[in-house]
């Protein structure tokens, strides 16, 4: 596209460094050259440092060499360019000094110089941002004049028509009333119109009828639900944090943000306020527990990236800037933005606004009467959590004693070992120590029994001294350890320090010194953990100081003395009474959080009292902080170092800077989103990217006119929507017209309406509407679809769990809640069809729709079909529709019910064996599956059929040959079949009851007759059939029947079948009667013919697409 709005300039003398003419040169530079320079050169020869006076990050420096030795780059002549000489390592200096560049990088630099060393420069970066359409101030353009002046009814129509006329195209006629009401109802509420509404609108031909309809829909509660969902895509909304090692992944009160958004659209909260509250409601309201605090969910409900602050802030900046400004500023996290005038300083100026802010849940109150309740709730929750935590701590202390402060005693006890005092039942010893902990110290000492251990080797050395030699040998030992100069055996410096003063007089003193050291580390570490817990951050994984952390690892590592898990879960050490208390306290917390009457909470941000100055992170790495930048807005949009944020974190100022009337992006981005939802495509094709690389708007003047009107109308979203849907442009038919299509195939000029496909939510909601089951309750806690698969609430209210999104959400292109999603994908995959064909939800709607169409009366097929069509599609069936439907009902009711599912390769039944005809006269499926066996009825034995049953490994025949036990196999494809098996009856034979006269085993092919026959009595028989051809669907029956009587005729018969499909010898399939044995597939009652037809209506394209 030629509209790429990047400007190139040759600096440092246009004669030297060629400006870009072609975009492939541009790509070459950006992909091949700039990365090499950035990675290998800029560090020493860039903005920060200019070693040797050489600077490579801007073209104007390339002509110099700093030391006067000639130009670094001679455009067109690589061999004369000192840059190339240096990287080729041909001559001194060799650059980069760390090692020669890879060949391809050198080649790229050479090629680039050869081409004249072109260097792209965005003019915008120099501050002339007005060149890009999106950055220019919004001005009201004049409304164009048109020839067909009778067509437009609003200004919008004039903008559209003018462009059409310029291309000699004409708009489409207005859609018929049924189409129109269906379109506008879905667009404004996400639901279909009822059949009564359709009828009334079709009848009402008054000129104002459509306007009245629009106003009714804008006033409905469902309007907010539909439009809030659009916004939730922007806000990457979810009810959980997503995959995380942290157990606390749910956002239990995320729904308050969702409900706030619904309400904001319904009350038509001005869009500027809508944004300000989502970024800084806490600064604006300054009232505790204000309901608007829920708006902060926009910032706080993102993923948590294992607690990494830079990533969390990046996610927040992304959602703000792509969401409201159409700018991706994420690139500037590591380097100046390549295309847009956004610098790394800009990024960190904004980063500073969020740095150090903490999240917390705050109860919100919607009215004075809830206030007391909410505050009481919060207090109670705190109290319950505190009780539980205190109980755990107390119990731990009671069981183990305060072992954290008794390291010296434990060390001594573990070292001395030997005749240990007897512990009581809980493991407590008379000396007050706990045996479990002593054991852990023992393990520690055993594992460190080496003279090389950096922490414990002094202990081991002192402990090895005999008491009588301690006095004489301790001194030199202590001196050696204190000196710590043995390179072979270095000590942890803190341990060496233990022995710097006087030498210990006995081992107990050594223990005391170690105990003190351990206590220091313990205090430090547990403080860090407690801080993290208080702030709801991820816990730290190590201490900053390597020296300290080495000791921490020793005492806290897995299986170490202070590893609480190693000492055992405290609740497992409680007696039953205390255990009950534990469970009660734990439950009290859980019950209180899950209590449906719990007030909603807002996930809010708490700015630090004294925000630290913002710093650039070099290359995006927090461990490389660079220069300080004042917190401020994007320089592109008027922010400057001279004009920094002054109010605390600056978050409120940021919000207001975004919501300013003269911000050129805010209104443009929003009207484009609204336009996109209504017309099927935005005027700008990239709703979240208005940067210099974005495609130009199809109707730039219209975009500005809409943006201007939005602000002039007090940022009213409802008035904006109303304006658009009242235009004739919006009301056009979507019908194809070959002539304009040839001219404008993508319908960019809007010569017709775009046909829209229902997204997941309106599709599911429309099914509930058609079935009459829809529950229109607004707001509240989300419903987990795993608990309630057939939930009748609107889809908006189903829980969105990042880590476990319901599979049909993904299948139907739900917006990935991990990212800000500019627009949904629209895919067509078979998983969608499987959900619609086989899923229980759709079946329930089909059943309800079929029932609803009967309207409580016995109806003939024709009447029923008419009523079903009206309920599902809002129209009467055509003659063709009706005739086909009636024919379908007739055909469906004559179709033999063969039971669901193609999986029944094995079937289990009662066979009537005809001895004369050598064939089965009948096969009656066994109807009951109980106790791992198929049987004839719920009673066993059964009056008529005796002990007849089939089990995985065998079974029992019925009382006579008309009641044989038949295991039936259905060939899944044509092929060559081999059967192996082993049948047995009463083994060992000596123990067999003499009354048993044995059974008979038959293998019978429906096509080829008897394949195998043998009587089996008190023995094992191989039942082998070699190589018999079968055709797809053919039955192979494994029949067992009694001889004269069926007493003691339990049998075992396992068979394996091997089927080699015709022509595909390698694709042998095997079937094992025992392994494949199972009960019935879960079934629901079969759909009646009418229910099947109702399902078809819910599945058809007319239901899913909106003209």
């Amino acid at each position: 596209m030629l509209a790429r709005q990047v400007f190139f300039a040759g600096l440092a003398g246009a004669t030297l460094f060629a400006p870009f003419a072609r975009s492939d040169e541009f790509d070459f530079f950006e992909n091949e050259v700039r990365p090499v320079l950035a990675q290998h050169c800029f560090k020493c020869h860039g903005a920060k440092q200019q070693k040797g006076g050489i600077r490579l990050d801007e073209p104007k420096h390339l002509a110099n060499a700093g030391d006067g030795a000639g130009p670094l780059v001679v455009p067109g002549d690589p061999q004369q360019s000192r840059l190339i000489q240096a990287v080729q390592y041909t001559d001194e200096p060799k650059m980069p000094p760390a090692g020669k560049l890879p060949d391809h990088a050198i080649d790229a630099l050479k090629q680039w110089v050869k081409k004249g060393a072109p260097w792209p420069v965005e003019k915008a970066r120099g501050g002339t941002t007005e060149d890009h359409w999106a950055f220019r101030p919004v001005r009201a353009p004049s409304v164009p004049t048109v020839h067909a002046s009778d067509w437009p009814v609003t200004e919008i129509d004039r903008f559209i028509l003018a462009r059409l006329e310029a291309r000699k195209l004409s708009p489409s006629p207005t859609a018929d009333r049924r189409t129109l009401i269906r379109r506008i109802t879905f667009d404004l509420t996400g639901l279909p119109p009822t059949e009564q509404e359709v009828e009334a609108f079709e009848r009402d031909q008054a000129p104002g009828a459509y306007t009245i309809l629009v106003d009714r829909l804008l006033g409905s509660k469902q309007f907010g639900e539909r439009w809030a969902r659009h916004w939730l895509d922007v806000a990457r909304y979810a009810d959980s944090k997503g995959p995380s090692a942290n157990a606390k992944i749910a956002y239990p009160s995320a729904y308050s943000f969702r409900d706030w958004a619904v309400c904001a659209f319904n009350v038509d909260l001005p869009y500027d306020q809508f944004l300000v509250k989502q970024i800084a409601a806490d600064h604006q309201a300054r009232v505790q527990n204000h309901p608007d605090l829920a708006a902060l969910g926009f910032l706080t409900l993102g993923r948590k990236f294992e607690g990494s602050e830079p990533d969390i802030i990046d996610d927040r900046l992304d959602v703000i800037f792509r969401g409201t400004q159409g700018l991706s500023i994420g690139c500037a996290r590591c380097h100046d933005h390549k295309y847009d005038p956004i610098s790394i300083r800009d990024y960190y100026a904004l980063y500073g606004v969020f740095a150090g802010a903490q999240e917390k849940d705050e109860v919100i109150v919607t009215g004075p009467e809830q206030r007391l309740k909410a505050l009481a709730y919060a207090a109670e929750l705190r109290a319950r959590s505190r009780d539980y935590k205190r109980f755990l701590e107390a119990e731990r202390k009671r069981v183990f004693g305060d072992h954290r402060r008794k390291a010296e005693q434990y060390l001594m006890a573990a070292q001395l070992g030997g005749g240990e005092p007897r512990a009581d039942a809980t493991g407590k010893r008379p000396d007050g120590l706990h045996q479990a902990i002593v054991n852990l110290y023992k393990t520690l000492l055993e594992g460190t029994r080496t003279d090389r251990h950096r922490v414990m080797s002094p202990w081991q050395a002192f402990a090895a001294l005999k008491p009588d030699e301690f006095a004489s040998k301790a001194k030199p030992l202590a001196a050696r350890f204190a000196a710590n100069d043995d390179e072979e055996k270095p000590l942890n410096p803190m341990v060496a320090q233990l022995f710097s003063g006087k030498a210990p007089v006995d081992l107990m003193e050594v223990a005391r010194r170690y105990g003190k050291l351990f206590a220091t580390i313990t205090r430090k570490w547990e403080k860090l953990i407690a801080e993290a817990d208080r702030a709801d951050r991820e816990r730290p994984t190590e201490l900053d100081s390597e020296t300290e952390d080495e000791i921490r690892q020793l005492i806290y590592g897995p299986g170490a003395p202070l590893d609480d898990r190693a000492a055992g879960d405290i609740k497992d050490r409680l007696d039953s009474e205390r255990r009950a208390k534990h469970d009660e306290l734990q439950k009290a917390v859980q019950n209180w959080t899950n209590d449906p009457s719990a007030p909603p909470m807002a996930r809010v941000l708490d700015d630090p009292d004294q925000p630290a100055p913002a710093r650039v992170f070099r290359r995006g790495k927090p461990e490389e902080p660079g220069e300080e930048v004042p917190r401020r807005f994007l320089s592109l949009l008027g922010g400057s170092d001279a004009n920094p944020f002054v109010d605390g974190s600056g978050r409120y100022e940021l919000a207001r800077a975004i919501a300013r009337k003269d911000n050129p992006l805010t209104a443009r981005v929003w009207v484009n989103r609204v336009w996109g939802h209504l017309l099927g495509r935005g005027l700008v094709a990239t709703p979240s990217d208005f940067g210099t690389r974005s495609p130009a708007p199809s109707h730039p003047e219209l975009l500005d006119w809409l943006a201007y009107s939005l602000v002039a109308d007090g940022w009213s979203t409802k008035r904006l929507i109303r304006k658009i849907v009242l235009s004739r442009t919006y009301q056009q038919a979507s019908t194809d017209r070959p002539e304009p299509r040839a001219n404008d195939p993508a319908n960019e000029l809007l010569w017709r309406m775009n046909r829209k496909r229902l997204e997941l939510e309106p599709l599911r909601d429309a099914m509930l509407a058609a079935s009459g089951l829809l529950d229109l309750t607004v707001g509240g806690r989300p419903v987990d679809i795993a608990d309630e698969p057939n939930c009748r609430r609107r889809t908006l209210y189903l829980a969105v769990k990042r880590e476990n999104l319901p599979s049909f959400f993904r299948a139907f292109d739900f917006a990935n809640p991990d990212l800000h999603v500019p627009a949904r994908h629209e895919t067509t995959v078979p998983q969608q069809a499987l959900f619609l064909l086989n899923g229980p939800f759709v079946a329930e709607q089909a059943r309800a729709l079929a029932r609803r169409a009967e309207q409580g009366l016995p109806t003939d097929d024709e009447t029923w079909v008419r009523q079903a069509y009206r309920a599902a599609l809002g129209r009467d069936p055509s003659t063709e529709d009706r005739n086909q439907a009636v024919a379908f009902l007739a055909a469906a009711s004559t179709l033999e019910a063969i039971g669901p599912g193609p999986t029944a390769t094995w079937r289990y039944g009662i066979g009537d064996w005809d001895e004369a005809g050598k064939s089965l006269v009948s096969f009656t499926p066994l109807s009951h599956f109980e106790n791992e066996q198929w049987q004839a009825g719920s009673e066993f034995p059964d009056q008529a059929h005796g002990y007849l049953a089939l089990r995985a490994e065998g079974g029992h025949p019925g009382p006579n040959r008309q009641q044989a036990a038949v295991r039936r196999w259905v060939a899944p494809s044509d092929g060559m079949l081999t059967i192996e098996g082993l049948a047995r009856h009463q083994l060992p034979a000596e123990a067999a009851d003499p009354k048993a006269d044995g059974i008979r085993c038959l293998i019978v092919s429906a096509r080829n007759g008897i394949l195998f026959e043998a009587g089996v009595r008190n023995r094992e028989v191989r039942t082998t059939v070699a190589q018999v051809g079968v055709t797809k669907g053919e039955f192979i029956d494994f029949i067992t029947d009694p001889q004269a009587g069926d007493a003691f005729d339990s049998f075992g018969w396992k068979v394996t079948l091997s089927l080699v499909p015709a022509g595909r010898p390698r694709e042998e399939s095997c079937f094992d009667s025992a392994a494949d044995f199972r009960g019935p597939d879960p079934t629901s009652p079969p759909l009646s013919p009418r229910e099947k037809l109702a399902q078809v209506l819910l599945l058809c394209n007319e239901f899913t697409f909106v003209d």
């Binding site: 299986g559 990935n816 078979p830 998983q831 079969p1086 007319e1102 697409f1105």
Partner: protein, 471 residues
């Protein structure tokens, strides 16, 4: 399959077969049409200059990939990368400046031997795989930027350690589309518990949702639990056929007024595909249908069953199957635990390679075996009772390739004499990705997708083909 239709009253005498015939392009066109329709929607999408992402850039060497992901970081110095110098220094601090001197060297408790014609050295933890040494291309010089499981997994799977980026399988699916029309083209198999980072490992991110893997928990043996909604609990196939015929008639009349909209047709076809999947997919995922001797070849372990399922899937045209084999994070007790862990894998992999060869599938399949990183040559853990293990090591580790397009019996690159870091023929994760795409006929620099105003690649701005390993 097709049963008697209800009598058609439609004057157009239209039936399903006519409809499918009239669609012309067949199902291959469907996916493309869906992508094209998708492309127009958000403005994001394939880079305009790229005419058709679904034709390969070069002649492909392989058609399928099976990636056996050894989750946790298997120890290269105990499996694939022998280090005699490490054994000689066992128990002593390692005399390498800059390396961890606090922990002693840990000589491998496993013995290495030259195996096969090629004499490739493989440890005795993997005896059966060792028999197939001549089929293996061992990259001993892998390195990665990330030493934590979470980030290293994402880097290995998606080419980026932190941000939401499409997975390798998604890129391949996007680039090549589907070969088989009855099954999803990208399948992930895990047993019981998804790997660390879960679905992020096979995310489509900004690519169309169809490019995301279908993830299947193989702890279910019952196919109807492996694949949701794959069976109808209400209706027999014949009854659904009748419904679909009526549905097609309705849709045909609806589309007759809207002939210019390819989405309508795409949706009609998706129902037909789903209808067929009900039988085909059931079979594909059902390893109980394999002969006992084949199942024994792979071993009755989770990874054995998964590898067998992977073979059934690629045999039926699935592009990319990823098998997750967890449990390689041996911080302690490595000598015992690694041996047990390797045993199941050894059988599964040897079974897989043998079976693929027997079926002439190995030449058109790339098998990738490896974890997110390797392990340290020095000992890890708290040294309790000498139950030693190893720490994470992202600076040097081994990944194995086998199958079409790569050299067999070949070892590429080297780590230093202890196995700390790759020093010769270094292969970064991005390079591995570039090479996998290359083998599939895709140029990693040209397989791009425009999102948020930028052209994205699997390899970002990195990646060099590892030419030395190509056959």
């Amino acid at each position: 399959m097709r049963r008697k239709r209800y009598p058609s009253i439609a004057t157009g005498q239209f039936n399903r077969r006519d409809w499918l015939a009239s669609a012309g392009a067949g199902f291959g066109g469907l996916a493309l049409a869906a992508i094209l329709a998708d492309r127009g929607k958000a403005g994001d999408g394939p880079t305009p200059k790229q005419s058709d992402p679904r034709s390969t850039h070069f002649a492909p060497k392989v058609k399928h990939v099976i990636h056996v992901f050894l989750e946790g970081g298997p120890s290269h110095v105990d499996l694939f990368d022998p280090k005699p110098e490490l054994s000689r220094n066992d128990g002593k601090p390692i005399p390498v400046p800059g390396e961890n001197r606090k922990a002693p060297a840990f000589g491998s408790p496993f013995r290495f031997a030259r195996r096969g014609q090629s004499g490739l050295e493989i440890s005795d933890a993997l005896p059966l795989l060792g028999d197939l040494a001549d089929d293996l291309c061992v990259i001993r010089s892998m390195h990665s930027d990330e030493a934590a499981h979470e980030t290293a997994m994402l880097l290995m799977n998606c080419g980026n350690a932190r941000l939401a980026r499409p997975s390798v399988g998604s890129w391949i699916t996007y680039g090549l589309g589907r070969e088989d029309q009855n099954l999803p083209e990208f399948v992930v198999l895990y047993d019981g518990k998804p790997p660390v980072k879960g679905v992020e490992n096979w995310q489509a991110a900004f690519l169309p949702a169809t490019c995301q893997a279908t993830a299947v928990d193989t702890q279910h043996r019952d196919v109807s639990r492996l694949l949701e909604n794959i069976h109808s609990p209400f209706a027999a196939a014949a009854e659904q056929r009748l419904q679909l015929d009526l549905l097609n008639d309705l849709n045909r009349r609806h589309a007759a007024q809207r002939t210019d909209d390819p989405r309508l047709e795409a949706r009609i076809k998706s129902f037909e595909l789903a209808y067929r999947m009900q039988t085909e997919a059931t079979d594909a995922f059902d390893i109980a249908r394999e002969a006992v001797r084949v199942r024994e070849l792979y071993g009755d372990t989770p990874v054995g069953r998964q590898c067998l399922m992977a073979r059934r899937l690629i045999e039926r045209g699935v592009r990319f199957v990823q098998v997750y084999n967890p449990g390689w994070d041996h911080h302690d007790t490595l000598a015992d635990n690694l041996r047990v862990q390797a045993k199941g894998l050894d059988r599964a992999l040897a079974g897989l390679l043998t079976d693929l060869k027997r079926r002439d599938l190995l030449a058109e399949t790339l098998v990738v075996i490896g974890g997110e990183f390797g392990r340290t040559p020095v000992a890890d853990g708290i040294f309790i009772s000498k139950k030693l293990g190893r720490g994470h090591n992202n600076r040097g580790f081994t990944t194995i390739l086998a199958g079409g397009g790569v050299k067999g019996g070949y070892a590429h690159g080297k780590t230093d004499e202890f196995g700390f870091q790759a020093v010769e023929g270094k292969v970064h994760v991005h390079d591995l990705h570039a090479t996998i795409l290359q083998l599939l006929g895709l140029d990693h620099e040209r397989l791009t997708y425009r999102y948020a105003g930028r052209d994205f690649r699997l390899t970002d701005v990195h990646g060099n083909i590892v030419k030395e390993i190509l056959a």
